[in-house]
């Protein structure tokens, strides 16, 4: 379908002679090794290793020790990676250099770690670094030296282990693309099963309880009583992972999307219905299978998801960076509490659904109130001002001035549960359905608006405000409507939050809520609904599930944000356009090079890593 591309003259000598390949850079390996070592020191000194060592993963390996061995693996892998192939240069041949790079990086991170270990073994630094506990090196578990005493081979172990793991990871670069992917897939699956042990066990037991399928013994097979993955279990997971990966990446496999496109319209519609029905069935059973605790986790993630979908309209579609988004969440929660709690200042005690129209109204009005003064602001200024608005909202709800209405720091208690006819939706399992309905609604609204006249106006405004105005988009209306739409979804989130908790207090609406929601949409992918859903589940749900993460939550968010901005600015599941835009430069160059290299070394098992669209 594409037009024939015009061949571009490459800056190489005539005859297609390529310049010698750029090899693995040893200085880069040194740098990576030092950075890796410092990272390992950092996670040890801030207490992460100790905190995470309570979760057993596989055999004697805990999450804490995994953190330590992950560092040399990661830097070794990166250091062993040849530099990107530039136009006109030959592709480097994999060889000992990859291994050497990995070894060097691993060894150096080991050296840094060894210095740190010796340091904390000889001096007591706990006065400054309170998390450098004796358990790290001095006393019993000796986490950093893997149980050995410092003199009795502990240091040697740290050094050799790091160097070895670095070399192993560097050697991974020798494998073909397909095999490397398979290794990653297997490692990820095993890690996921080991980390998500409470989740997997609950699901397997839940399935047995609900559907009478014999799945509970599977849980006993997979996991030891300590909660770690059993060895046969790990092997089973690895085999399944390998099989699935091989199946998914086999030669000549067409992506699902293209295979769906060749189907006739009738069967496509049938398939869509079947998928929908299956999804509804699974979702219908989900809270029962998950049990109350996991349902609660899901509900929290769902409320954040609702907000993220709203903020996605404001930031992702309309391009208005709003850092005070929590204000709308608070308005929704307080209005619900005021109208449904018999103990509020109004004392009317309505049912939830009677309060909903007022929530919508109040959210829309607050969207208007925040939106109007910031109409002329863009970018950074807008972010700062909205940040201020968010804090103002919290302080107003907390203030003595409005205490008669909102109860100040005491908040409002006894918010009524949602009722459907005579049924009260009380427990987390029933509540899941309520949240699910609202999330579904928000998703639909996002999609419906995205492809409409209003959505186009928002996107045009995000792209170029002045031109959008010159092309007939009234910026005032567009901005206000984006704020209002976003505010309404956050208002729903707030309303659900209030009924879920049963009370509202001002301290629930701090700026960190806004930041979390923003992180969710950045990590998931701006303007991408599936990305936002995934990110809400992972970033909000996972820390609830794995309590030891909770303390380091914002540290991990920060690290993740930096990583995303550097490596994948478009988010995990980007909207298709954004991904193209942000990685545009790579394509033409690589495409040219591939024609060159495939001609020369057809025997090489080069799996086509990226399939680009013209």
């Amino acid at each position: 379908m594409a037009e024939p591309t015009v061949a571009v003259e490459a800056p190489v000598a005539a005859g297609g002679e390529l310049l010698p390949a750029r090899q693995v850079d040893l200085w880069r390996a040194v740098r990576l090794g030092l950075v890796g070592g410092l990272t390992a020191v950092f996670v040890s000194a801030n207490g992460m290793v100790l905190a995470f060592s309570k979760r057993a993963l596989l055999g004697g390996v805990t999450l804490g020790s995994l953190l330590l061995v992950a560092v040399p693996l990661l830097v070794g892998y990166l250091a062993g990676r040849p530099p990107p192939v530039l136009q006109g240069f030959a592709t480097p041949r994999p060889g000992w250099r990859n291994l050497a790079g990995g070894l060097l990086a691993g060894l150096l991170s080991g050296v840094v770690m060894a210095v740190f270990v010796t340091l904390i073994a000889t001096f007591d630094v706990r006065r400054v670094f309170i998390n450098v506990t004796p358990e790290l090196v001095r006393a019993a578990p000796r986490l950093l030296t893997f149980g050995l005493e410092l003199g009795a081979g502990g240091l040697v172990l740290v050094l050799t282990l790091n160097a070895m793991l670095g070399a192993v990871a560097g050697t991974l670069q020798l494998l073909g693309e397909r095999w490397r992917r398979a290794v990653f897939a297997v490692a990820l699956w095993v890690l996921a099963f080991a980390m998500l042990q409470p989740f997997v066990v609950q699901v397997l037991r839940g399935i047995q309880a609900e559907l009478r399928i014999w799945t509970a013994p599977l849980a006993e097979f997979l996991y030891e009583p300590s909660g770690a993955l059993s060895v046969p279990g790990a092997v089973a997971v690895a085999v399944v992972a390998f099989g699935v990966d091989a199946l998914l990446t086999r030669e000549g496999r067409r992506p699902v999307r293209t295979r769906l496109e060749v189907l006739p319209e009738r069967s496509r519609r049938l398939l869509r219905l079947a998928v929908l029905a299956g999804l509804l069935f699974v979702l219908g059973l989900l809270p029962q299978v998950l049990g109350p605790f996991l349902s609660e986790v899901l509900n929290i993630a769902g409320i954040f998801l609702l907000m993220a979908l709203g903020l996605n309209i404001v930031v992702g579609l309309a391009g208005l960076l709003d850092l005070g988004y929590v204000a709308f969440f608070a308005v929704g929660a307080y209005v619900t509490a005021l109208l449904t709690s018999p103990q509020s200042s109004l004392g009317v005690g309505w049912i939830f659904w009677a309060a909903v129209p007022f929530v919508v109204l109040a959210a829309a009005v607050s969207g208007l109130v925040v939106g109007t003064p910031v109409l002329r602001m863009r970018g950074d200024y807008l972010a700062i001002v909205t940040l201020g608005f968010g804090e103002i909202a919290r302080l107003l709800f907390l203030s003595d001035w409005l205490k008669p209405t909102f109860g100040g720091a005491q908040g409002i208690i006894r918010v009524r549960d949602i009722t459907v006819g005579p049924i009260e939706i009380g427990g987390p399992q029933a509540f899941f359905y309520a949240i699910f309905c609202f999330v579904l609604l928000a998703t639909y609204v996002t999609y419906a608006l995205q492809g409409s006249r209003v959505g186009r106006a928002w996107i045009a405004m995000r792209e170029d405000e002045a031109v959008a105005e010159a092309m007939g988009v009234n910026i005032v209306t567009a901005k206000l409507s984006a704020f209002i739409a976003g505010a309404m979804l956050a208002g729903f989130g707030g309303a659900l939050f209030a009924t879920k908790i049963g009370s509202v207090f001002p301290h629930s609406f701090s700026v960190i809520v806004s930041i979390t929601v923003l992180v969710v949409i950045i990590v998931g992918g701006m303007a991408s609904v599936p990305g936002v859903v995934l990110a809400a589940l992972v970033l909000v749900g996972l820390p609830e599930l794995l309590r030891e993460f909770a303390e380091y939550r914002f540290l991990i968010y920060g690290a993740l944000l930096i990583f995303m901005m550097q490596q994948r600015p478009e988010g995990f599941i980007p909207s298709r356009r954004r991904a193209q835009e942000l990685h545009e430069e790579e394509v033409p160059q690589d495409a040219w090079l591939r024609t060159q290299t495939t001609m020369q070394q057809e025997a090489a098992p080069a799996g086509d890593g990226r399939s680009e669209t013209s």
């Binding site: 409409s452 006249r453 186009r456 092309m471």
Partner: protein, 260 residues
């Protein structure tokens, strides 16, 4: 009465007078070329007319009513559309969507209709789509077919310029302002666009004011040429007259030593 007129239009940027008491009349269905050396105030004139920059003094009238102080979107709705010297598309939006945005002022359905998929909303969306595709079809097969769904930034430079014109035309303007439409095009493309500008006027009856540096285009397309220098009109008339005008030559080439 002229379709479009400016009276004593003035704009200062700090100490620089970009437009200086400009009187300009354009009749319905004309193709007028605005030329002048760099910094003569040509693009400023367009910015003032399209409402993107407010004027300091004077008046701009379109179809007999003043458009001073209106928002750019309101001016577009009245029927003045423009393109930009440095192409300014919505890069992430598809070619079709770029043009559909320009229909914003001709359509009405809001958020509620979009959410409830009202019949009027669907009809309007369909019409908007058709309008956009029609506007793009004006350039032959260059911007149609599979190109409808490609993002605007993937287009070649010449195609971006064409897309900008299509976008402006989709808003059903009575007056079209083209800011250097052939900049960055090769001679063949320039020739083609010159013919196209004429066709545009003949088929849709739109009045066109264009800024142009390429004298072949000016010669080929314009029925009247207006020469600006330091924000003032220094000459006006058919191309041949203007080209031999002493003041114009002076503005472009500088005063010769002998005449001084």
């Amino acid at each position: 009465m002229a379709l479009f007129e400016t009276r004593a239009l003035t704009k200062d940027f700090g100490g620089v007078r970009a437009i200086d008491g400009l009187d300009l009349d354009v009749d319905n269905g004309e193709i007028v070329c605005v030329i002048g050396p760099n910094g003569a105030g040509k693009t400023t004139l367009f910015n003032l007319v399209s409402g993107m920059v407010p004027a300091d003094e004077g008046e701009i009238r379109f179809e007999g009513r003043s458009i001073m102080g209106l928002r750019p979107s309101q001016i577009l709705e009245l029927g003045i559309a423009r393109t930009f010297q440095t192409v300014r598309l919505f890069p992430e939006m598809s070619v079709r969507e770029n043009v559909m945005v320009a229909r914003h002022c001709r359509t009405r359905s809001g958020m509620l209709k979009a959410i409830f998929r009202a019949p009027s909303f669907r009809r309007e969306e369909k019409e908007t789509r058709q309008w956009a595709e029609q506007a793009l079809a004006f350039f032959g097969s260059r911007l149609t077919g599979w190109r409808f769904d490609t993002p605007a930034r993937s287009l070649s430079y010449a195609n971006r310029r064409r897309l900008e014109i299509a976008r402006a035309m989709a808003s059903e303007p009575r007056l079209l302002l083209l800011d250097e439409p052939t900049a960055g095009m090769n001679p063949r493309e320039t020739q083609e666009l010159t013919e196209l500008i004429r066709r545009l006027r003949d088929e849709t009856g739109v009045t066109i004011i264009l800024i142009e540096h390429d004298m072949r285009v000016v010669k080929g397309v314009s029925e009247r040429v207006v020469v600006l220098d330091y924000g003032q009109r220094i000459a006006e008339g058919p191309y041949a007259d203007v080209a031999s005008n002493d003041r114009v030559i002076e503005a472009y080439l500088g005063r010769t030593a002998t005449t001084a």
